[in-house]
């Protein structure tokens, strides 16, 4: 056993993301110690922090797993042994703590299996597998189940040995899907715009060079179509600029380069695909009773806002590419160049708001919502405010991977909370008064944040250095 190599690999998450790992570690350990005293509160905390720890491990793995690393002697075995070490700590240790509280073997096994599932989910999320959105959707779906099914599930959870086994199998399946592409040596395929990558759900936002991409069946089929629309859009924009040079035409060309798939056809294709997938999904699960339409519709904002994860990452990843753009545009001042970039990205506010509204329409139609106007108006108001806020946060926010992830998580949670607040205001005070209150809450915040961020961004000198992570 190569103890030194295992030690180095095990320490890597702490070296790369010390603050995140220490914070998660402290909360995890604190919750673990509290299990004997108050296990009902402590155990969910252990599960949640395990999921977060898994995510940080996944983020570290993603940057580590590239061709030259995979070719290191005995790397896969050493990685496996390191994984066992983490499994011992994150899975076995909590189960042993629970053993001190309850002698029930089924409970212990369930705890271990859930911990394994939490690690697998975290790893999947951290490596860029877009599983988190599906996990969020599970909770309302559980609420849709009939009471009898609920009771059966609850009984099974506490008595059946099949549940831990199923959870472990699910975790194993998830780990296989997550780890297999990471452990495969493949050709580099880095030909998407960093700003675009996540928008189409085809590629994780944090693709490292040399990394195999997790591109699904739909993504593979969509890519050439979206690329063709991007090419046509660019050609049209360039032709317009040549014919009638001006600020608007110039900006249109720059946007066609920075956000290649955010053209009318590209947006339409994305909306169409989402409509088909969502339509199929809701047709399959639709029961009608007990469904909180407002809560479900807030996912429209969540899906729309997920676009900004790519912006945060893209802003940093794109720095070297911008050098060429800088020389091409030949601005008078650095501030002029920064203003061009910031203003080009404003298109994202329109695109995101449009997507939020369209997805809300979609959900409202599919769920036969009683007050669709409220839902649409809320999506519009929150979409505009949250998009401005998100763009502002990513424009001048942290450049580290952990920082960007935390900002994005904060933005998503904030947007969903505000969505539900505005919707509640409309229910409580009517569409006009509630909508007005929503506008007062969202727009000044979003616009203010955007104006501040733009001003701050303009004072910064453009950076063309390649990012280190």
């Amino acid at each position: 056993m190569n103890r030194r190599a295992i030690g180095k690999l095990a320490a890597l998450p702490f070296v790369r993301m010390p603050a995140g790992m220490i914070l998660v570690g402290v909360v995890w350990l604190g919750s673990l110690i509290l299990i004997p005293a108050t296990h009902a509160i402590a155990i969910p905390f252990v599960g949640m922090t395990t999921w977060l720890a898994g995510m940080l491990l996944g983020m570290t793995m993603r940057t580590l797993m590239r061709t030259d690393t995979l070719l290191l002697p005995d790397f896969a075995r050493i990685l496996g042994q390191t994984g066992l070490l983490y499994a011992l700590v994150l899975i076995i240790l909590p189960a042993l703590f629970l053993l001190g509280v309850s002698g029930n073997a089924q409970n212990i096994l369930l705890m271990a299996a859930v911990q394994l599932l939490a690690v697998a989910l975290g790893l999947a999320s951290g490596t860029g597998f877009r599983i988190t959105l599906f996990v969020w959707i599970i909770f309302p779906l559980v609420g849709l189940l009939p009471a009898d099914v609920h009771a059966i599930l609850l009984h099974a959870l506490t008595t059946s040995y099949w549940v831990p086994l199923l959870a472990a199998l699910l975790a194993a399946l998830l780990l296989r899907f997550t780890l297999r592409p990471l452990l495969t040596v493949s050709d580099r395929e880095d030909d998407d715009s960093p700003m675009q990558a996540i928008a189409d759900g085809r590629k994780p936002a944090n693709t490292a060079s040399g990394m195999p991409q997790q591109r699904g069946f739909i993504g593979k089929k969509l890519k050439p179509i979206l690329d063709a629309t991007a090419q046509r859009n660019l050609e049209r924009s360039v032709a317009r600029l040549r014919k009638r040079p001006g600020t608007a035409a110039r900006m249109s060309v720059i946007r066609a380069v920075l956000l290649p798939h955010d053209n009318l056809q590209g947006i339409a294709i994305n909306v169409l695909v989402t409509t088909l997938v969502a339509g199929l999904y809701f047709t399959l699960i639709h029961h009608g009773d007990g469904m909180n339409v407002g809560f479900i519709t807030s996912y429209a904002v969540l899906i729309g806002m997920s676009r900004f994860a790519a912006v945060g990452r893209g802003m940093v990843k794109m720095q070297p590419n911008l050098a060429d753009l800088y020389l091409t545009l030949a601005p008078e001042t650095h501030a002029e160049f920064q203003a061009t970039i910031a203003d080009a990205l404003l298109k994202l506010v329109a695109v995101t708001t449009f997507n939020c509204v369209i997805y809300s329409v979609l959900i409202a139609v599919l769920l036969h919502a009683g007050a669709p106007a409220e839902l649409l108006l809320t999506a519009l108001i929150v979409g505009v405010g949250a998009s401005f806020g998100a763009l502002a946060a990513h424009l001048v926010g942290p450049t580290t991977q952990t920082g960007r992830t935390l900002v994005q998580m904060g933005l998503l949670i904030g947007a969903m909370l505000i969505y539900n607040l505005v919707l509640w205001l409309m229910h409580r005070f009517g569409v006009l008064a509630g909508g007005f209150a929503g506008i007062v809450i969202c727009l000044p915040f979003g616009l203010g944040a955007w104006q501040y961020a733009r001003r701050e961004y303009l004072t910064r000198r453009p950076c063309f250095d390649a990012p280190l992570d």
């Binding site: 880095d190 030909d191 715009s193 660019l234 040549r242 060429d324 020389l327 008078e332 063309f464």
Partner: protein, 299 residues
């Protein structure tokens, strides 16, 4: 357009004064002064990590400087300065063009922003260098990307070309073709080229002047014939062998091996060498150095 708003060939196209550039606590460039007149081809030499890329990026205005000043085409690079920037062609060491764009789209996009763009030359080079216009930039090989970057840099007919190891990824044919193209450009009045390279044969073929970057400064500037005249290999031979080097002043390196004393000398005249040979009763052989030998001795 006249090169750089009235800058003539005798005026400095590049004027670097007291340049200091730090990365963390490390000075990469320190008190660097460099003046490049118009119409010259300069080969920037230096060992790995000497700061060649940093210097070229600072000159292109792509990397902020800590102290000193850089004026390109008569204007400070503190700010990009608008149209002036379009008179600079820059080929970086690694090609961070837009990998998601197709070659055709990328060149069309770039051309749309330039008032002058040599379409004929661009098309010719794309054909000569066999670059598929329909391919995505990200799918090109490293060498093809380098060629594309060169084509893009040459197309606006820049007055100053800054090339950071432009031929590093090119095959011998492409390297030769690139050097031919470079020579064609330099023959046009007022064009200035600065390129860093480790392939000294290319500098010899181009007849480039040499600038050596060492310890954060330009420590040597010379044209190639003068450099060859100045720095030479001297071999002194005698049957008795050598205990000490026969000369100290002006000797860069001395190797004593049996009957031979091999010296690399800098600026020692033929008369002095002949006098030493006579004094030591040795046979004298003076040999010219290749640029690669010179680089090894000086860098």
């Amino acid at each position: 357009m006249a090169a750089a708003d009235g800058i003539t060939q005798t005026q400095a196209i590049v004027d670097v004064r007291g340049l200091r550039k730090r990365f963390g606590q490390r000075d990469v460039l320190s008190h660097l002064d460099w003046r490049i007149p118009g119409g010259r081809v300069i080969g920037l030499l230096g060992r790995n990590g000497a700061g060649k890329t940093t210097l070229l990026r600072c000159m292109a205005g792509l990397s902020p400087i800590d102290e000193g000043s850089i004026a390109i085409l008569g204007h400070s690079v503190d700010q990009p300065g608008g149209e002036r920037l379009q008179h600079i062609g820059f080929v970086p060491q690694t090609f961070d063009l837009f990998p998601w764009m197709k070659v055709r789209g990328y060149l069309d996009f770039t051309a749309a922003f330039y008032p002058r763009w040599n379409h004929a030359q661009t098309e010719r080079l794309l054909d000569d260098w066999r670059i598929d216009r329909k391919q995505k930039v990200g799918q090109l090989s490293q060498g093809q990307r380098q060629k594309l970057a060169i084509i893009r840099a040459l197309a606006p007919d820049p007055d100053l070309l800054l090339l950071d190891e432009p031929v590093a990824s090119l095959d011998p044919q492409a390297r030769r073709a690139f050097m031919d193209e470079l020579m064609r450009i330099v023959q046009r009045p007022g064009k200035t080229v600065v390129f860093s390279t480790h392939i000294t044969a290319d500098l010899e073929r181009a007849g480039a002047d040499i600038a050596l970057l060492k310890d954060g400064r330009i420590v040597l500037e010379s044209d190639l014939p003068a450099l060859r005249q100045r720095i030479r290999r001297v071999v002194l031979m005698r049957a008795d062998g050598w205990q000490t080097a026969p000369l100290e002043t002006g000797v860069l390196r001395a190797t004593l091996d049996g009957t031979q004393a091999q010296l690399i000398v800098d600026g020692v005249s033929d008369d002095v060498l002949a006098a030493i040979a006579e004094r030591e009763h040795a046979r004298l052989d003076v040999q010219p150095l290749t640029l690669e030998d010179l680089f090894v001795e000086l860098a």
